[in-house]
């Protein structure tokens, strides 16, 4: 879901004249070449994403159990009513939002600090960057297992380290959510810092030197020079991470299997579709999840004016 585009700009789409704009030969060639290059990928994308999306929309209107194909019945928007009137949906929506806000906020702060370290490091730059990026290179399931073992009350080291005895981290909602958030933050902060580093690298040193000459303190330089100039990069990083975090599944599946009220919306979709094989109901949950993700993306782009062109290097 990271294909949201900023509104196109430039003469070709300028508002006033609706008549066809005559293209130069060169422009036409370029356009044709563009289609030629991107066309196959575009067709492949439509085939592998468009069809499942439409199929999910269609299926979401049926009461359809995979083990009972004969009992398939059209229920219109019935599945959506079931979902939206069930307290479980709203509870899991709350848990998902909480995890998203907490992890993305923590990742932003930590990611920014790490980006600064990577940007300013004078020695061992490559080694440092590699070290910081290692967690991101680890498969989520593996990292979730690692953290689950670390927090385990029988063989984990966390309890020993903090003198917590036999405290069962996965035995309560809040403590279980803490472990999930810790695992998520550890895993994806490097991604955040990588995006922020790109933004940081775009700030000309002249700005900072000028600020220094004018007597700005380090904090003032961060607040008045670095942050304003990085706004676009920060918003893009936040957008990408929020969309990812909202769909969290792996860590929770491994660490709590959804017990203790730690289930998220992706889990709800998984349980209806895969465990219960209620394909219709599960598709409806997935459609709602997709709509929520689109709303988040639109909110970032429209309300917070996130400029994705900056990330594509167009400016």
């Amino acid at each position: 879901m990271s294909t949201v585009e900023a509104p196109p700009r430039g003469p070709a789409t300028a508002r006033a004249p609706r008549r066809r704009i005559r293209l130069t030969d060169r422009a036409r060639h370029e356009r044709n070449l563009g289609w030629l290059l991107a066309g196959p990928a575009f067709i492949a994308m439509v085939a592998v994403t468009g069809y499942p999306i439409l199929n999910a929309l269609w299926l979401s209107m049926f009461d359809y159990r995979l083990t009972d194909p004969g009992g398939r019945e059209f229920v219109g928007l019935g599945n959506y009513t079931t979902i939206l009137t069930d307290g479980l949906f709203w509870q899991q929506f709350g848990v998902t939002s909480l995890i998203t806000v907490v992890t993305v906020a923590a990742e932003l702060v930590l990611g920014f600090a790490l980006a600064m370290v990577m940007h300013r490091a004078l020695y061992l730059r490559t080694a440092l960057r590699t070290a910081i990026l290692v967690p991101y290179g680890i498969i989520t399931v593996v990292s979730a297992y690692a953290w689950a073992y670390a927090f385990s009350n029988t063989y984990g080291f966390v309890n020993g380290l903090f003198g917590l005895g036999e405290f069962d981290w996965f035995g309560g909602t809040w403590s279980a959510l803490v472990t999930v958030c810790v695992a998520e933050i550890w895993k994806t902060t490097p991604f955040m810092s990588l995006l922020l580093l790109a933004g940081l690298a775009q700030i000309p040193d002249d700005y900072l030197e000028a600020a220094k000459v004018d007597g700005a303190t380090a904090w003032q330089r961060v607040k008045r020079v670095i942050l304003p100039n990085m706004k676009a990069a920060i918003m893009v990083a936040l957008l990408f991470r929020t969309l990812d975090a909202f769909r969290i599944f792996d860590s929770i599946f491994i660490m709590t299997a959804g017990a203790q009220g730690t289930e998220t919306l992706s889990f709800l979709a998984y349980r209806q579709t895969i465990s219960r094989v209620m394909v219709g109901l599960g598709s409806a949950v997935s459609v709602i999840l997709a709509i929520l993700v689109v709303i988040i993306a639109v909110m970032f782009v429209k309300v917070f004016k996130t400029d994705l062109s900056q990330q594509r290097g167009e400016r």
Binding site: T67, L88, N153, D168, G171, A259, Q260, S275, V285
Partner: protein
């Protein structure tokens, strides 16, 4: 950008390889007409399969595929593949409670009357009942399973209960373990093992999770049997144990292996668990994580009762071998199952994996009696074991129970059975989510 020669050639080459692999992927999943794809749930099944293939003299060989470790994971994988009519599956290992769901959906090939006769002769009642659905045999029982009460002999005097002297109740055990300052381990984790516990308690109290006849009803007409005195007493026992000092740390997240490690700990006292633990103690002794004389202190008895005057209904588990409806080689698969599930295979399987045979005769084998001193208890338990509810919608049933009865320490005997029952019926009729 101008492409250099080399990358272009490389790209063409890789495209060809990709294309070729797609073609072969479509054509050659069989790997030969005598190769049977066998989905196993336990690593020890592979050794048995290797022996059978060798003994067949080339009549068949196996392509072994391992199912996920957890019962739910195994079910999901089989369900997904069978629903997609995967023709590459021949023999599948099915956990008995899931069999009805698969059979009802038409995913399994029914055994013929003659085959049924063959695969049920000498099989203990428990494993046989759970391999049959609507009077048809859908699985050849490979092993049966039942839980026992395990205890440390050294704590009995202080606890004031003696399971070796006669049947004991859950209440006596909770009280005794608390008095002796030891733990009573059970499986409070929210997965299939919680369902096993709830079912055993409700059945021991004389009730059943689903009202009788549920197996032939459409999902939205199935009625739950939890909102009853049996449901209430089961809930009370679960809650009492979970909040008592006898509950091991992390009770609400403890599965079978956590229970075993709680039992092995210095304050371990009692545990309900499957007989595999006996073989697992050996492994732990060999590893050095348990003292060599640990097993001398371990005793076993029948599953605890809910009410002193009523027989307990021990949990029933096991594994059956079924043939996929979509298999191209059902006859060869039957032939292979004749070896995979025969007495020799069941004995080998019991020796290596510690899972009890389904055939009564295996329990009379001197070698087995030597390795499993509790063989008689297991055999009796298998015969008396109460299967989990038989339902074509078992996934919904177990999911609802796991949601309603977890975490055990916050259950309310006055409310949980009613709420659980409502959830179960609402989920089955597609009105609620789990």
């Amino acid at each position: 950008m101008v492409l250099e020669k080399k990358p272009r050639r490389w790209a063409c080459g890789s495209a060809l390889v990709l294309f070729a692999s797609v073609l072969t992927g479509c054509g050659g999943e069989d790997g030969g007409s005598t190769t049977l794809t066998y989905y196993i749930a336990d690593a020890a099944q592979e050794d048995v399969a290797t022996r059978c293939a060798a003994e067949s003299g080339g009549a068949y060989s196996f392509n072994i595929q391992r199912l996920p470790n957890t019962a739910a994971g195994g079910r999901e994988q089989l369900l997904r593949r069978l629903a997609a009519e995967d023709r590459s599956m021949d023999i599948v290992s099915v956990d008995p409670p899931f069999m009805a769901e698969f059979a009802n959906a038409g995913f399994l090939r029914a055994f013929t009357d003659q085959e049924r006769q063959e695969f049920s002769t000498g099989v203990l009642d428990g494993p046989l009942v759970q391999s049959t659905f609507r009077d048809t045999l859908w699985s050849a029982p490979l092993y049966g399973n039942t839980q026992l009460l395990w205890y440390r002999k050294s704590v009995l005097r202080e606890a004031g209960v003696d399971p070796s002297a006669g049947p004991v109740t859950w209440d006596q055990l909770i009280e005794g373990a608390t008095r002796a300052g030891v733990t009573l381990a059970a499986q409070g984790r929210r997965n299939e093992s919680l369902m096993v516990w709830v079912n055993a308690l409700v059945s021991s109290a004389g009730g059943s999770i689903l009202e009788s006849g549920a197996e032939n009803l459409p999902a939205d007409e199935v009625k739950g049997g939890l909102d009853t005195p049996a449901g209430e007493v089961a809930t009370r026992i679960m809650r009492d144990l979970a909040v008592s000092p006898a509950a091991p740390a992390g009770f609400s997240t403890a599965g079978e292996e956590d229970s075993r490690s709680a039992f092995q700990a210095p304050d371990g006292g009692f545990m309900v668990n499957w007989p595999y633990v006996w073989a697992a103690f050996d492994a732990a002794i060999e590893e050095g994580s348990l003292p060599a004389d640990f097993k001398d202190d371990v005793g076993w008895a029948a599953y605890p009762r809910v009410d002193a005057g009523t027989e307990s209904a021990a949990p029933s588990g096991g594994l059956g071998l079924s043939i996929s409806s979509f298999s191209r080689k059902p006859d060869l698969a039957v032939e292979a199952i004749r070896c995979l599930a025969n007495a020799q295979s069941q004995k080998d399987f019991m020796k290596t994996a510690g899972n009890p045979a389904a055939l009564a005769s295996v329990f009379d084998d001197p070698e087995i009696r030597d390795l499993f001193p509790m063989a008689d208890q297991i055999r009796e338990g298998l015969d008396a074991a109460t299967p989990r509810p038989v339902s074509p919608y078992y996934g919904d049933v177990t999911g609802s129970i796991q949601t309603a009865f977890h975490p055990p320490d916050s259950l309310a005997p006055g409310a949980t059975p009613r709420e659980g029952n409502e959830l179960l019926e609402a989920v089955l009729s597609n009105r609620r989510l789990i």
